[in-house]
């Protein structure tokens, strides 16, 4: 959670699709959070803790960077270039 637009993007929806259309409820069960939290993560409204992020990656059997991507620097640099 944080103020403003989240700087962490994720590919949870895509990874669920590639995991045989795993349901949000099934992923929530594996990760140990509520389905509403998975929904909020997918919609970019919530950035999870590092532990939950690792759990999500483990649920798909991929490295954490395949699930979550930091976008803060890119947004900051684009904002700077727009300001020039």
């Amino acid at each position: 959670m944080g103020k403003g637009k989240p700087h962490i993007a994720n590919r949870i929806r895509v990874l669920r699709f590639h995991a045989g259309e795993m349901t949000q409820a099934a992923l929530a069960e594996r990760v140990g959070v509520t389905r509403q939290t998975i929904v909020a993560m997918e919609q970019g409204r919530y950035s999870p803790s590092l532990e939950v992020a690792f759990r999500v990656a483990a649920a798909f059997g991929v490295p954490i960077e395949d699930v979550f991507q930091w976008q803060g620097d890119a947004e900051a640099s684009s904002a700077e270039s727009e300001g020039k």
Binding site: M1, P6, V33, T34, R35, Q36, S49
Partner: protein, 142 residues
């Protein structure tokens, strides 16, 4: 909406209903000629609200179960729920502590103690309402 959001809505409705009821009673010159009487009215009101809230929550769970809405069951709180609860409680704390201090200041300046009891109760209800509203907002925005 999730179970926790519905619980917040029911809590908010109960708080608003209780404040309206108490305002109408006080406006009609009903209870509380003394501080003790006013305090009893407030204590009983809070007890009634707790009972009404509990019954409404149980009824909601039963209704959701009958309707087959498994998504409305009360899951164990996760880190997001705990974070939202903490931030909402913080907001309510600001209102309650500020209102409590304001009540003391009013009493120190000779404000009617019976009205002070009702004012303090209104502040606490406002704090509870702020907590419920905060939960709804945080669940919506993240």
């Amino acid at each position: 909406m999730s179970f926790r959001q519905w619980t917040a809505v029911m809590g908010l409705a109960a708080q608003v209903a209780l404040v309206v009821w108490l305002v109408l009673r006080v406006a009609s010159g009903g209870p509380g000629a003394t501080v003790a009487e006013a305090a009893w009215v407030v204590v009983v009101s809070i007890a009634v609200m707790i009972v009404v809230n509990s019954v409404a929550t149980i009824a909601f769970v039963i209704a959701a179960s009958i309707a087959g809405r498994g998504d409305l069951k009360d899951d164990a709180a996760d880190e997001r729920d705990r974070g939202i609860s903490a931030k909402s409680s913080r907001n309510a704390y600001y209102i309650a502590s500020g209102g409590g201090a304001l009540t003391l200041v009013l009493l120190a300046f000779g404000y009617d103690p019976v009205s002070g009891v009702y004012f303090l109760f209104a502040v606490l209800m406002l704090a509870a309402a702020v907590e419920s509203i905060s939960q709804l907002v945080y669940y919506r925005v993240g």
